[in-house]
């Protein structure tokens, strides 16, 4: 048990405002000096600290309130912070150095931090006090909106800026008819140029939101509740809910009572101190050198600087930096930074791609980028923004940089990523929300020297791993060593061997069990770890088909129980539906199982099959048994192995079809099912170049053409989108099968465990794969033969083995309960 902190020797810090800026400052302070202060927090809202930026996601139903909590009550308790949530501070006596709250509490302070944030701007319009009118600022507003959406139909949002549009989209998602009234001719005029704003308005109109631009609201009408709005030019519309989102203004009322200097915001110096040396201010309520900010990145900087000074430092200063804007509306990507329009001294480069609905503009001045507006594809936004911030000379690349970063850099003169110039708040790991600054700090304060240490301490790259190269570069830059080419990774911490070393040893030294591999290659652990065991199991299974005994205790849960564990602990059951087809008998069996076991949901999966969700673990064998009776087998939807073969209806039914794509898909699936691969493997067959089966983002895709079949490889629609490379064209279905088997076997034999085909292809290149599969007919047939040999041992339905033969019965039966 933790004891409460001693109170006599510590200075007293009161924080007014329990929002993002205030609590971020407290977090930074606790990192610097956890025992300096007794901390008391007053928050007007009756909640713990939450991520206000995510309110629009809560409104849109994409996140729950719990998802956006930043610090739980336990965090306050663990850090000995007294939280008065729902008890707003109402006055400050700067002479006596006390704060008084709405409940009448008066507390003394040694240091005071104001983080009061902003208030919504309320325009002088009659009717704003009617029930059914709210702002879009806090959880209470979101509750009001969600409740209204449940009961009423028509919503009007006043304000077509960032906040107003996110509110409109959230209400639309919740089923309301939504109109947006905007004073200006184009939306988001502070962040977007006219062209991008038009595209945005067009896309939102397509999604069913209507607009009144050039619209000045004159009155909100209604007697007991809002019924509509009327504009100055006479236009009017009905409304059951009116959301006012025309902007925010720093909340400076308390600062005034304390006698601090206040303009638009509370005036602060470079140390975030106000005109009273004991009082600091951070966040939206602060005005630094005439500027108030409302974006998170500069506020994090303020928090760091303020914490440094509260902890007794005197070195750090806050300097305003350029900021970039993004809109959080699902499926609509907008990015802007710096200037929006060229003046007399600037040039513009514009790229419009009407077909893709994308737009990019760069504003250049004297060989530097000074502004960008992106609509549609915004993946290069951070790169352009970085060039703006660093003032990089782009004369050499200005002719092609508008196309994309990739196109620019493959053209040669690309500048290497400059880690030193990367700002601390650059988010490196999107999965775990880790910024560059946190990584550097962990490296320096905890003396980390290896990538693995950085990963386990910061969690950067610990989830999807996409950012691992960047994390390595930051480590190298922080330690001041040369950035070496990425080393070939070792399998795990148990060994110094690479994946390639191990695979070579398995075949050349005839190692046939995991123990033999670990003994021969000097493992440091007796039974390996959760990383190497599944990998070794796969490598041995691949090298010694029919000989190596699959080790269920070296499989991840889903592969061990042949079902996907869901987050509530139940399982999903997804039978194979060959080529996406079904018979009436199969459908009846699925329906019968679903009602008998009272399943939570039946869903058509992304891979053209029916998934049955919400099965208890102990019921799995019985469910599988009944499905088996109807001829259904495991769809391996849990496997690092062949998943689905997606098909379109093809020549049989479609007027554009050139070949029988459904039958070809079934033949591929019959050939490849049951196979284990380094990671999951998806296929598709489209009957014509219209590509309805999305063959161009599959591990192996086929597009049928009049003259035969185009074979496509190494596509991926997941975290990182990658279109396929064309392997070759072939004339017959049998050739498609031969090439598919050979390609899959090459991947099985040469990719690292947990590599999808896309990163593997990035490493080896399509030319290598063509050399092995297309230009070496003998090699191709040998690969195909090895694939089919392996299949002769792998095509047993794991569900039947468990339902009928009692395989792994212990998995599905709990022991007798304790009473």
């Amino acid at each position: 048990m933790s004891s409460s902190a001693p109170t006599t020797t510590r200075e007293r810090l009161i924080v007014i405002g329990n929002g993002m800026a205030g609590m971020r400052t407290v977090e930074e302070l606790l990192k610097l000096d956890p025992t300096r202060f007794d901390i008391t927090v007053f928050g007007a809202e009756p909640h713990v600290n939450y991520d206000r930026i995510m309110l629009s996601s809560v409104l849109a139903g994409e996140k729950s309130v719990d998802d956006i909590v930043i610090n739980s009550r336990e965090w306050y308790a663990e850090n000995h912070i007294t939280l008065h949530a729902g008890d707003a501070a109402v006055s400050i006596d700067a002479k006596a150095r006390t704060v008084t709250s709405a409940s009448g509490l008066t507390l003394p302070y040694d240091r005071l931090l104001l983080a009061t944030g902003s208030k919504p701007i309320v325009p002088p319009i009659p009717g704003l006090n009617l029930p059914g009118v709210c702002a879009f600022r806090d959880l209470k507003d979101v509750d009001t909106m969600i409740d209204a959406a449940a009961t009423y139909r028509r919503a009007v949002v006043i304000g077509g800026g960032l906040l107003g549009l996110e509110a409109a989209w959230g209400l639309k998602r919740r089923g309301m008819d939504v109109s947006v009234v905007h004073l200006m001719p184009t939306l988001m005029e502070r962040q977007l140029d006219e062209a991008a704003a038009r595209l945005l308005q067009h896309d939102l109109t397509e999604r069913g939101i209507s607009f009144f631009t050039d619209g000045q609201t004159e009155e909100v009408t209604g007697t007991d509740r809002v019924t509509g709005i009327r504009l100055a030019d006479g236009r009017a519309t009905d409304a059951d809910l009116v959301v006012v989102a025309i902007g925010i203004r720093p909340d400076v009322d308390l600062a005034r009572t304390a006698g601090l200097d206040v303009n638009r915001g509370i005036v602060v110096g470079d140390n975030m101190g106000t005109t009273d040396p004991d009082i600091f201010a951070v966040g939206e309520c602060a005005e630094h050198r005439g500027q108030c900010v409302g974006l998170v990145a500069p506020i994090w900087d303020m928090a760091r600087v303020c914490a440094h000074h509260l902890a007794g430092g005197d070195a750090m200063v806050y300097a305003a930096q350029a900021t970039a804007t993004r809109l959080k509306i699902t499926g609509i990507d907008v990015y802007s930074a710096g200037l929006l329009k060229a003046g007399e001294d600037e040039d513009e480069i514009v790229l419009r791609d009407k077909r893709r609905g994308s737009y990019r503009k760069l504003i250049l001045r004297e060989g530097q980028v000074v502004g960008t507006v992106l609509y549609g594809n915004v993946t290069d936004g951070d790169w352009y923004f970085d060039l703006i911030r660093r003032g990089t000379d782009i004369s050499d690349i200005s002719d092609r940089m508008i196309i994309s970063r990739a196109a620019t850099q493959s053209g040669g003169a690309a500048p290497a990523l400059d880690i030193a110039a990367m700002p601390d708040d650059t988010q490196i790991c999107g999965c775990n929300g880790v910024c560059k600054g946190a990584i550097v700090e962990a490296i320096t304060t905890k003396n980390l020297t290896t990538y693995d240490e950085v990963k386990s301490h910061t969690k950067a790259s610990a989830s999807c791993g996409t950012c691992a190269p960047l994390v390595r570069e930051i480590l190298a830059a922080t330690l001041g060593i040369e950035v070496a080419a990425p080393a070939i990774p070792t399998l795990c911490k148990c060994t110094a061997c690479t994946h390639e070393d191990i695979r070579a040893a398995i075949t050349t030294q005839s190692l046939k069990t995991q123990q033999q591999v670990r003994a021969a290659l000097g493992w440091t652990t007796p039974d390996g770890c959760a990383s190497c065991r599944p990998a070794l199991n796969y490598y041995l299974l691949c090298a010694w088909p029919g000989e190596y005994q699959d080790d269920s205790r070296s499989r991840f849960i889903n592969e061990r129980v042949h079902a996907n564990v869901q987050k509530d602990g139940t399982y999903s059951v997804i039978p194979r539906m060959w080529g996406g087809t079904a018979t009436p008998g199969e459908l009846a069996a699925i329906a019968s199982v679903a009602s008998k076991y009272n399943v939570a949901e039946i869903k058509i999966t992304g891979g053209q099959r029916l998934g049955i969700y919400g099965i208890r673990k102990q019921d799995l064998p019985a469910v599988w048994g009944e499905l088996n009776e109807a001829g259904l087998v495991s769809g391996h939807a849990y496997a690092k192995g062949l998943r689905t073969v997606k098909t379109c209806v093809g020549l049989e039914w479609c007027r554009f079809g050139t070949q029988d794509s459904t039958t070809l898909g079934k033949r591929l699936e019959r050939m490849a099912w049951g196979n284990w691969t380094p990671h999951k493997f998806k296929m598709a067959v489209s009957g014509c170049p219209r590509n309805c089966a999305e063959s161009t983002i599959k591990d192996f895709g086929v597009i049928c053409v009049d003259s035969g079949f185009d074979l496509l490889v190494a596509g991926n629609g997941g975290i990182e989108l990658r279109g396929t490379d064309k392997l070759c064209s072939v004339a017959t279905e049998d050739e498609v099968l031969e090439y598919a088997a050979a390609y899959m076997q090459l991947y099985r034999e040469e990719a690292r465990y947990l590599d999808r085909t896309a990163p593997w292809m990035e490493r080896v290149g399509i030319d290598y794969v063509r050399a092995r599969i297309v230009h070496d007919a003998e090699g191709r047939r040998a690969l195909q033969a090895r694939f089919l040999h392996a299949q002769s041992f792998l095509q047993d339905d794991p569900w039947a083995e468990r339902a009928k033969q009692g395989v792994d019965a212990h998995e599905f039966t709990p022991l007798e309960a304790l009473t």
Partner: protein, 108 residues
């Protein structure tokens, strides 16, 4: 003075009911208990709840005297119930002993 608490030992299964490097689950009024067997035939029992996000530890991969949570790969030391550094957290242990191939658990 030492205080002695009398433990209520209950027979739960045979050692052979748990595969080496495997686990079984015992439902109990206070929530599930996961019982693990390592390669050296030592047996451990802890609550079937990872201290991180409550993942079912019984479904994890057992290695040495440790188990990796199936949800986010936190590694829990079966001897102490503690998460491996740098993660911080602890899963309650339940006393367990093996006699003549029979596994006994101390019910609280």
């Amino acid at each position: 003075m030492t205080t002695t608490t009398t433990l209520n030992w209950v027979q739960v299964c045979h050692l052979a009911d748990i595969l080496p490097l495997g686990a079984r689950v015992i439902p109990s009024p206070k929530g599930e208990i996961a019982i693990f067997r390592c390669t050296d035939d030592s047996v451990f029992a802890i609550r079937n709840r990872c201290p991180h996000k409550h993942g079912p530890l019984s479904e994890g991969i057992v290695h040495g005297h440790r188990v990796a949570c199936p949800l986010h790969s936190w590694v829990i030391d079966l001897e102490t119930g503690e998460a491996a550094a740098p993660d911080i957290g602890c899963t309650p242990k339940i006393p367990v002993r093996v006699e003549n191939g029979v596994v006994w658990l101390a019910a609280a």
